[in-house]
Structures are given as C-alpha cells and as structure tokens.
C-alpha cells in the first residue's frame, strides 16, 4: 500500500491540487475516465468543506489522505469545521428530479453530494473528535 497525506489551506485555489495529487498517485491503476471521476468527487467534497463546513474561511485546514492498494484507492478528507445535518446525506443517493423546461425553478446548486456518490464506489461520512471525515473509495475493478 502507498500512502500520501496532503494538508491544504481552505482556499478555492488549492482545490485543483487535490485532484492533481490523486491523478499522480493513482494514475497507473485507473483509466483516464475513472481518474476524472475520482478528481470530480474529490473536488466536490473539498469544495463542500470550504463552503459549508468552513463557511468560506480561507485560513482553515483540510487534510486529504490517499491510500492506494492493489484493489482500491481510498481517500479520507478531514476538516475541523461545523458538522453536517444528517438529513443532507439523503442527497447522496436522491434522484436529481427537476423539470428541465421550467427555467425559473432550475436548481443552481445542490448537485455536489449526488455527483460525489455517482463518481465513487463508496462514500461515507462520520463526525468524530469535532472533525468531519469523508471517506471515498474507488475500486480498481469496480464491484458489479
């Protein structure tokens, strides 16, 4: 197993780094399409930490731990911001259900958790020691 840990200041300009590291670390284990999905999920998760857990503060820290083994990439993202309302976790698996013709009512956000869940094989959230932990797993050979 290969482990890498990255800690960034909670600034939007640091978010691309989180995806770039995943691609460096897991580049040999996944197809380009899968790597894009991993990048997408990580970016959405870290964006949420910055926007929701830290309410946009730029001087807090987010830690991203990558663990690559033969069969999977496991990523844990940790922030020390405010906790998540458990109701929100329903959004991970809820259908994005809106009327595409009703322009006035189109959603301008609320896609993040759905995208994270679609792009990864497993997504878990836990609150522990006053920290938020998001665990994201992508299998090298996806479960059928």
């Amino acid at each position: 197993m290969n482990q890498v840990s990255l800690t960034i200041d909670s600034r939007p300009e640091n978010v691309p780094l989180v995806g770039a590291c995943a691609k460096e670390i897991a580049g040999q284990s996944f197809s380009i399409d899968k790597l894009s999905e991993i990048e997408q999920a990580l970016v959405e998760t870290v964006n949420n930490c910055i926007e929701h857990a830290y309410c946009g503060s730029e001087d807090r820290q987010i830690t991203i731990k990558y663990a690559l083994s033969k069969d999977r990439l496991f990523v844990e993202i940790t922030d020390q911001g405010k906790g998540l309302d458990p109701q929100c976790l329903k959004k991970l698996t809820a259908e994005l259900d809106y009327n595409p013709s009703d322009i006035d009512c189109l959603p301008e956000g609320g896609f993040g958790l759905n995208v994270i869940n679609s792009c990864m094989d497993e997504v878990n959230y836990r609150r522990e020691d006053g920290k938020n932990h998001w665990s994201l797993t992508k299998f090298v050979v996806p479960l059928t």
């Binding site: 300009e13 978010v15 997408q40 595409p100 322009i103 189109l106 896609f111 759905n114």
Partner: protein, 112 residues
C-alpha cells in the same frame, strides 16, 4: 478570468480561455456574463473547448446565466471535453442546455 466575447447578428459568442470552470472562477464568471446579459443579450453560444474540468458550481453558473435571461434566453454550448460532458449528464443539465460538437452546430441551434 480570460473570456473572449463576440456579438454577431444578435448572438453573443463567449469563448472561455480557462482550463477550469470551478468555484474559484464562479463569482467572476457570473459577474462578467451577468453584465453582458444585463446589456440585453439573450442568445449565447459558449465555447468550452479550452475547459478540461468543470465542477458543480461551474454548472450552477451556467444555470444562473440562463435564469438571468428570462423566458427569451437560450444557451448552446460546444467543445465539451469528455469529463465536462460527463458533468452535464450527471447533473442532468444536458436536458437544459443544447450541447453541440462544433461552433457551427451551436450557432444553428441557438437560432432555431
């Protein structure tokens, strides 16, 4: 933010010269395109061929633009790289925006 604009026959063509349309760019993008909409533009063709990556706030920006234009507004988009196109599909926004392969198709679609 690097964006090139051109107005021809009532259609505004916007070429985004950025690799990422993400949360860092979102505010600037909405401000800039918001201005162009405020000055009366209602038909927009977006060239995203330089964009390697879009996140959900980038998608959200495009929705905001559409809403700002009201019922007469229309946006077509061309030049989507595979990860960008995937995001339109994942968020089901491929039903809201007309996605095209070429500028020609996008110009045709915005006028139809």
């Amino acid at each position: 933010m690097q964006i090139q604009t051109k107005a021809v026959n009532g259609v505004l063509t916007l070429s985004l010269d950025e690799k990422r349309l993400d949360s860092k760019l979102a505010v600037g993008f909405k401000d800039k395109v918001g201005e162009l909409i405020a000055s009366g533009n209602r038909l927009i063709v977006f060239n995203l061929s330089a964009v390697d990556f879009i996140d959900s706030s980038g998608i959200g920006c495009l929705v905001t633009c559409l809403k700002l234009m009201g019922p007469k507004g229309k946006i077509t988009i061309w030049g989507l790289k595979p990860p960008v196109e995937s995001m339109f599909k994942l968020t089901r926004m491929d039903r809201v925006f007309t996605l095209c392969s070429t500028e020609e198709q996008a110009l045709q679609a915005v006028n139809s």
